[in-house]
Structure formats: C-alpha cells, structure tokens
Symmetry: C2
Subunit: 367 residues, 2 copies
C-alpha cells in the first residue's frame, strides 16, 4: 500500500477531522514500520489479511502507528524474512514458523504439528494453555517475538497424478512437500522436494514430480493444479492446522509505546479470526468448482493414514531426542493435546459429525 | 466535534455519562460508556472476557474511550439489557441474542441454530458470508448494532437424574431449558421450564425438575449440578455453537469517532477468539474433575438425536412461516451451512475424527 493510500484508508486528515473530538490530534505518524510477508499478493486471504491488520492499526492509533505492508520479494525473498526481521532490516513479517525449523525444530509448535491441534485448539494452547510463554522463550534468543495471526485450518493433502490406494503407492513418489511432513513421508519412501509455489504447475505437468501439496481449494485453484493432476486428497495430516505467525523484532517491539503494542496485538488477534473465517467461507466455493471441473476428491485410505501417524510419532520422538527446546515443549504440548482430544471428542466432534452425516444423507436424498 | 455536540449527536443525553471518574491515562476520557452484561461476575470466561475487552479499548485509545463494565443486575436485570440499551439507559451489553427471540425470532441466527453452524463456521458466516449485513438489518429497527464477541462452542446436553435411553424417556421430563431448544423438546413431550442459573441446583435437588442444561463443564461445575444429577449428556444440539454478542445502542455507535469505533470492533473480535479459547482450555480440566467425582458421561442415543433433528427441522419451517425476517435469513443461511458442511466434512472433520479415534485408542491402551 502506498503512503497516500494508507493515509486515505486510515482516515487521517479530513475524514477523521470531521468525526474526531478535539483531543484527537491530526499528527503525522510517530512510528513507521515495514512488514514484509512471505506471501505473494495473490494470496488474498493471507497477504490481504495482513494489509487489513495494518489498516486497522493505522485507524485505531489515529494514524500515529503506520505499518507499510510488502509482499515476498519486495525487500528480501520470502524465505529470508526471519533473518531480515531478526537483523532489523525491517520490523516485522508474516510467515509460517515451520519454514525456519532448520534453525530450531521447536518453531514447529508455532505453526502446527502432524496430527496435532486444530485451529481452535491451537488458539487455546497459545492463549490460555502456556503456549505463548513456551514459544516466546524459544524465539527470544533470536531477537524475535511471535503473534499468531491467521490459521488456514486443516489443509488438503495435495494433488496426485495417480491414486494412492495403499502404503506401497507412496514408495518412489516424487512429491512437492516441505518441512516435517516431507521428513515423515520420506520414511515411507516418498522423495520429498521443496519448490516455490510458482514452479509447482510446470513440475507436475512435465512429470518432474508426481504430486504436490500447497494449501487448500481456494489457493490451490489459483495455481491451476487441477489441470495437471487429477486426484485431490485429504486431509493434510502434516499439520493439525496451519497457524500463520507475525514475527516482530523484539527491540522494535519493546520500543513501542504501550498503546501501540496493544493496538498491534489486538489487530493481529483479530486477523487470527478473520483469516480463518475467510478461508472457511472461500474454500467450499472453490472446492465445488474444482469437483465440477472434473477433480477426483479422495480420502487417504485408513492404512495410509495409520502408516503416516506411526511415522509422525517416530519423527516427534527423534526431534525430542535431538533438541532440548523441542522436547520441553513437546512434553507440555502433549498433555494439553490429550486433554483437548478428550474434550473435543465429547461435545464438539459428536455434534459436528452428526451434522455432517445428516447433511450428507440430505444431499444424497436430493439426487 | 465538541463534547456537547457529541452528546447531542449521541442522543442519549446525560445517561452517556461524562461525569467525573478516575481515568486510566493522563488525559481525561473523551467518551465514557457503560456496558452491563447478562452474566454474573462468577462467569469468569464470559464476563471476564468483556472486562478484558474494555481494558483493551482503554489502553489502545490511551484512556480516551472508557467503558465501565457491570454485571447482571447492577443497572437492570440480565434479561432486560436489550430494552435498556435500545432505550439508551446504557450504551452496550454482552448477552445471547436468543434470549430476545420473543421480540424477533430471527435473532436466533445471531446466537446459534439447532444442529447449526459450529463456532468457526459462525465466524465465517458473520464476517465473510453475508451474516453481518443480514443480522444488522434485523437489529437496526430496534436501534441496535450487534458484534460477535465470544463463542462457547458446542455446549453440553445437560444434567439428568435418570438415563435417557429412548425417545420415550423424554416424555414427561421436566427440564430447565429455554429458547428454541425448549420449543423443540416440547414436541417430544418434554415440559420445558425457564429458571435463573442460581435456582437450578435447588430445583434439581427437590425434584421440581428432572433435568437441566446450562453451559459446559467449566461453568456447570461451579453450580454444583453434579451433586444433584448423576448423568451428564452430550452434545447440546440446540445450538451448533453458542455465539455471544455485544449489542450497542446504534446512535451511540454512530456518534463515536472512527478510531473509537474501530478500537471497539477490533477488541470485540479479539474476544471472539479469546473467550472461545478460554473455554476450550478450561472445559477439559473441569470435565476430568467431574468424571473423577462420579459423574456418568453419556452421549444421547442416535434415535434420540434423530428425533430431535426432525423436530428441529419442523421448528425451523414453522418459524419461517411465521416471520419474514426469519425466513429471509434462514434461506441464505441454509445455503451457506450446506457449503460449510460439504467443506468441513472433507479436510477438517476427517482429520479431527481420525485424531480423536487414535487418541482414544492410545488412552485405552494405557489402561
């Protein structure tokens, strides 16, 4: 967003002057930040949500705290945002902490764990279950502080040129998948590859890869992956949900006046709801379009899920053995997860499952 | 705008309160509001969340917008907040819109529909699915504007002195349950009664009632209901989730400077996440305590759920025939719900259900 546009949207100047009480001064920004995301502008839900957050901070601070939002590549490549913010090149980023597990595997808990917490449970753990304290201790030595800011929910399991009917079908599969999901699948014979989003289509088309996971229907459709792979699998078990995070330079954070700190924290948490809600509203529309255009929707067979679950548990144990930070969080997190699973199985999942079965029966009856 | 002009535009006169009160910041407040909830202070999650929201608004406006939060009964009884805010006695309340369906049955869509949207789906509908526009059109003639502010998620089905094994067991059951849930259950022979929370324990103990629903483990435990009823049923199907709402006097809202409007909206939406997360973190702890103390946890049998589902659909049709507002929203909402059910059945519910089954198997193996 340009400065002129920012001021226009923030309502600084004439628009605010009309409505404002006299105590509201039309002062120029006292703090100006730059925030570069890890996303292209085309990710309207995620990148767009960050723009909405910055606009909100501008309005509620009466234009005094201005955050200029930039897309991946405008200052540094999308995968270099961690170092750029830690080093003070710019003040903040919006990213997935799991991109940076090479630095510390414990960052995974900030994004999502295979077969781990769903979006609501992640919010419960972070905000009320000790997650914020544990994670911030891990980010602090890097000079960063983290704020949850949008969750995609459970993602899709990706696009496949051939059906996955058995665990054997994973052997030798060349798949675009990063992070811990890739490590786990390699235990089952998958050759995991990292590719930037823009390169997935061509790689699938040429057959350089056999499969690719990205996000969910709304974002996947934009890449046109349905045109080069027929089978669309679910669920993306490599995260119980994918939590996006705003990482902020700790010194810049500590230098903010209290009112600006709280405005930013509040606006980030608002987007935690708004981005998820936006995905939830958009994904079914895209999914219907994809299926209408010939995409074959498939659930991973139970035997495949079981093998992946077992491999995930092994990977968690290996990471705990390797990293003290990971082990410490994993132990606390596991207890919290077990309690969440106990409770969500009772009221929440029972009613959800009943509703979905009833809804499926009604849809079948209409046919 | 001068303070005097502000008050004139606000149209609620001296009730708006520019009286002397200590401020949290150096500058005196420009705007002072009173917000009375429908809750006792003992509901730490709900009433406490409203206090956190008011504190947040105070800090981010540097003390210029002060919201004084009061509990049910401090100004008016908890069930009179609607009229008090509409009439300008105070500026805002935090309540369940379903308490006021006697005025307009369409308010139900602001709280939750039997077998309806879960918490995440409700947020998607309100914020991105046309819900805000539809609901605000319904509240506007009453001089009110609504903001979602905290969702309990799926509630429990309540406390029963005897087991519910068949649909026949509902016949003649005297149950404390209000709103649409009570109407639906009365089709199945239940005598639905409304009782204030503080009276439930005594009524169950004396046998004046046979069953009572309240909220969920964390809140129910505080009332001690486990001591007077042995069976704790799930799920509370009479709402897909229970959405709490902040209702604001429309003139007071329109008179706010833009920065204060956005600070309040942002802080309310933050609590939409925070209250739900708080319930999710607290409920499993309370549930374990209750079960440890002898409570018998039971799922409603499928035949009971099916009968309730059928009665709910009939009730929705009756309300649509009776109220044009209800019909208009119900038609749009039904399409949105069907899409949500389609999508959540795919990735979200498949992974959740797999995780819970795996978690249950692991817990059983430990015994």
């Amino acid at each position: 967003m340009s400065r002129r546009e920012f001021l226009k949207r923030a309502g600084v100047g004439a628009a605010l002057g009309v409505a404002a009480a006299p105590s509201i001064a039309q002062t120029p920004p006292t703090v100006r930040w730059r925030l570069q995301t890890s996303w292209p502008k085309s990710l309207d839900t995620t990148h767009g949500g960050v723009e909405a957050m910055a606009r909100r901070v501008g309005v509620i601070t009466e234009g005094k705290f201005e955050i200029r939002v930039m897309a991946a590549g405008e200052l540094v490549p999308g995968n270099q945002v961690f170092d750029a913010v830690a080093g003070g090149t710019f003040e903040a980023t919006h990213t997935l902490s799991t991109f940076f597990i090479g630095k510390n595997p414990a960052f995974t808990f900030d994004s999502g764990i295979p077969f781990g917490l769903n979006a609501r449970q992640q919010a419960a753990w972070f905000n009320w279950g000790g997650g914020a304290e544990l994670l911030r201790d891990v980010f602090k030595p890097y000079g960063l502080i983290n704020f949850p800011c949008g969750n995609t929910g459970v993602q899709m399991g990706g696009w496949y040129r051939k059906e996955i009917k058995t665990v054997q079908d994973l052997k030798g599969l060349k798949m675009r998948i990063g992070g811990i999901g890739g490590s786990i699948l390699s235990k089952l014979g998958v050759t995991a590859q990292q590719l930037p989003p823009g390169d997935i289509y061509a790689a699938l088309e040429k057959g350089t890869i056999d499969a690719a996971e990205f996000i969910g229907p709304h974002d996947d459709e934009k890449l046109g992956l349905n045109k080069v792979a027929k089978f669309y699998y679910y669920p993306g078990w490599w995260e119980g949900s994918a939590q996006n995070t705003m990482l902020v330079n700790l010194k810049a954070w500590e230098a903010l006046p209290k009112a600006f700190q709280e405005a930013l924290e509040c606006a980030a948490r608002e987007q935690d709801t708004m981005m998820t809600a936006s995905y939830d509203a958009k994904n079914p529309i895209a999914l219907k379009k994809l299926v209408g255009a010939g995409t074959q929707l498939r659930a991973f067979p139970k035997a495949v899920m079981d093998a992946c679950y077992k491999a995930s548990e092994e990977t968690m144990a290996e990471l705990s053995a390797k990293s003290a930070d990971f082990k410490k969080i994993h132990e606390q997190w596991t207890k919290f997860r077990d309690d969440q699973n106990l409770w969500f199985r009772v009221a929440e999942n029972t009613l959800d499952s009943y509703r979905y079965a009833a809804s499926g029966a009604a849809a079948a009856a209409k046919k």
